[in-house]
Symmetry: C2
Subunit: 238 residues, 2 copies
Amino acid sequence: MLAITRPGGQSCVVQLLLISSSNVHGYGFLQHPEPQIRRFLSRKRRVAFCPFAAHDHDAYIAKVRERFAQMGFEIIPIEDLDRAEAIFVGGGNTFRLLKKLYERNLLDVIRQRVRAGTPYIGSSAGTVITCPTIRTTNDMPIVEAQSLNSLGLIAFQLNCHFLDPDPNSTHKGETREQRLLEFHEENTTPVVGLREGTMLWVENDSHRLLGEKPARIFRQGKEPIEVGPGKWLDEYLR
Amino acid sequence: MLAITRPGGQSCVVQLLLISSSNVHGYGFLQHPEPQIRRFLSRKRRVAFCPFAAHDHDAYIAKVRERFAQMGFEIIPIEDLDRAEAIFVGGGNTFRLLKKLYERNLLDVIRQRVRAGTPYIGSSAGTVITCPTIRTTNDMPIVEAQSLNSLGLIAFQLNCHFLDPDPNSTHKGETREQRLLEFHEENTTPVVGLREGTMLWVENDSHRLLGEKPARIFRQGKEPIEVGPGKWLDEYLR
């Protein structure tokens, strides 16, 4: 990992912990990534939480506050970003999240804070918005955001809750893989399919897969490949 | 069914055959709705086909031309709409379809033709665009249309390929029902979940369910209900 040294001599690292999903079969809410969250936040304590992907912000804040308190962290409102040592953007509906971020002019603010070194944790929708666009979301477009362009903190796309086809299914709707191949009929950006129970640990241009399962990487005109946990994905994302 | 009589005395009926999906387990391409397509088109022969939901238009046109020829109908390009006796808009990606229709200024033209009495057949994406918006599509937003607003030929939303939850699934991504409940956190319009193998036969404000399975109707603040094949849905959609 290379820390960027700014003109003033201050070292600056974009640090992202991008979790596929807060809920995983057999685990409680945000239970499976707890070791990684603790390690990622290190000595930072005050985390600004963004609940906009959910409909009921207060209920979501209470749930996340309780869970983070169990891990020893303090949740503060996203409006108090100036006081925050880290940011957590939670899951829900990605279109709703992005629309609210545009309406409150928060995209630029968050992007600047993260580029200046504030660690960012995303889960599901909060992970997808770190991509250049939300064009690889699974969510229903229940509201209309002013654009599908998002934070662009990473240079490729993620598909959270990535799901392998069910060989016994008689359903004729598209499989996830078919949808991502459709994405590459219209776009050239690589896509990482992040299965539930996995996450990416990002430091500047270094991207490491953590968790229990491999990721599936889709690149235009190439066969998808599987890359196992613990591996760096960088060579496949150029 | 009430035919609207226009000032000139000409009777005018909006006629839509809205198929959930062209492919159904155990059937060939557009095989299951063949009896309804024949009855719906009656003596009309020349059908303008819109392939924009697919990436490869030529391949899609060839496939649909062959299938419609088997049923005794002639497929002509959507650009020749003036000569058409009916319209068929096929399935694929709903965002891609809507984007192309906006780019080619075809939404108003199609809407006017259908409101003037030209029968319209839709399948999957081609069905969803007859709703006020495409906010209940299952598709991935692989491209960005200028708006999610669509034809508005019906006053409610449809969810095609409607899928019941799999009781054995360990996947934590939202079920279809959860996504439609999320839609109603943000919108008041009723939604009809059309399972594969079913379709709506629309004449003006009359909506009849045809096919092999019930539809599931979602209304804001109410429990979803099931309505069986052969039934009119109108009382639930007001």
